[in-house]
Amino acid sequence: MDWPSAKQLRDKIKTGEVGSVTATREVFARIAKAEPIVGAYISTFEEAALDKASEVDRRIAKGESVGQLAGVPIAIKDNMCTTFGTTTCASKILENFQAPYNATAVAKLLAADAVIVGKTNLDEFAMGSSTENSGLKRTANPWDTKRVPGGSSGGSTAAVAAGLCYAALGSDTGGSIRQPASLCGVVGLKPTYGRVSRYGLVAYGSSLDQIGPVTQTVEDCALLMSVIAGYDPADSTSIDEQTAPVGDYLAKLDEPVKELRIGIVPSFNAGADEQVRNAVDEAIKAYGNSGATVLEVDMPHLDYAIAAYYVIATAEASSNLARYDGVHYGHRTQEPNDYIEVYTKSRAEGFGKEVKRRVMLGTYALSSGYYDAYYLKALKVRNLIRGDFVRAFESCDCIMMPVSPTTAFKIGEKIDDPLKMYLSDIYTIAANLAGIPAISVPCGFDNGGLPIGLQILSPAFGEEKLLRIARMYEKQTDWHKKRPLITDE
């Protein structure tokens, strides 16, 4: 089975060649077939989606102007607030929560006339690297349904890979867009911190979180970024237009970057599986053959990124998740003996194990007597890591490395060893700590037919150039055109 990219579909819908209603019906037909196995969605909105699709078709037929994503079926990770349906964060504590406002990124999709298919599954509160921590359901990797899709945006990446939507939004705090994108063979971008509004994104690690596109192609990624990027007065951490204007991501996308300099860190790559390393090396060689210079850069602090992250992110999470107390919204325990038990029992009943673990870790790291040794120390290490990137980018335009040390692992393989699971993030985490943008693009498959991703990192607010660099490789390859067999059955 095959289907067009989001931009190709958008163009056909705008000319009237294809109706959004037809495209939306096809998506829901694929959902009916594949969802019992893939389980990418927590909720879907078939009726509302078809209503929107026919509204778009009607407006086009009348010659009215429509938005940049006119009629394109898109999915949203279920940690982004929507006034329609529920926003569960894949947690029992928010299982029936109906958000009173739309996240800014969602509002922008709606204003662009996108058709919202549904809310996708994730690791609970975005904490995880496999989507196995979801408190509500399991998502399988469409390439091998005994394996994980990655996480925490596993629902979004599985949905895009299996054609259950044309593109999706994910969120990335330590790799949660890029790692599952790599495991599912799709494109995933974590924008520069502050590039996309976090208003309405349920907070996990406030200094690390970013919403980003999950797409079939680099061009679709540029299209989605055009819609969601930009200053938002409702998010005090979003960057203003003067300091960092939003570029035109589509205009020069196909223009290669001349005299491209690529930085690599061979000693760091050594930690990845052989087939992953080979695929990434081959991809970098392809750039070299096109005229790019590849040089080694010294980044001595990358080895400490995971340690710093699991203190900083968990510390921020312990604060951000304090609001789930059974008082204003979400699950409340049935028979509390006093008001303290409203908190302690509601949280105990509502939170899954990984969430509890991270809240505990963060609380400990911030507590009196440990604050300096853990939290403050981690913030200093963060500064050293950012320094590594600042120095490296003096001599190169981008850095390339693997996304994930392995291809998709088996369901259940790492779930009993939290630390083993955390080490899946080894290549993605540093970009969140440094606040820089990073993208995962498909660069091959292993002997088992499992996707491998190439990661490209660039200086802050360099998304325009980053997308062009990614597009240079995509143009020469057709990894992104392969479809998982499940879509044929």
Binding site: P100, S236, Y304, A322, G330, R357, L376, K377, L384, P418
Partner: protein, 99 residues
């Protein structure tokens, strides 16, 4: 083996985090958190003398706006998800002790 975080510390932290844990969970978490903290301790290999803590990547500070009241959610939307409500109030068990 001496755990980096023992069970009594786990209980203390759970109390701070307002999480009720079973005895089995306390034991499990003590082991897992100790292993994670052992890994995290590698940061001590780095000399961070004179390095400023970096809490935030953007050079954006003190984002203010004019103190003018704008449109807000309103009572109904705000209380729509309340587990228990009493008119315009969220209802909770008694907080103040009897005198």
């Amino acid at each position: 083996m001496d755990k980096r975080i023992d069970e009594s510390q786990v209980r203390k932290v759970a109390k701070l985090a307002r999480l009720e844990l079973s005895d089995v969970e306390v034991k499990e978490f003590a082991g897992q958190l100790s292993a994670i903290l052992d890994y995290v301790a590698r940061m001590n290999e780095l000399n961070t003398e004179g390095i400023e803590p970096l809490a935030h990547c953007l050079a954006v500070n003190n984002v203010f706006r004019e103190d003018i009241a704008k449109k807000s959610l309103g009572t109904e939307k705000t209380l729509a998800n309340a587990p228990q409500r009493d008119g315009a109030f969220f209802k909770v068990p008694k907080i103040l002790e009897e005198p």
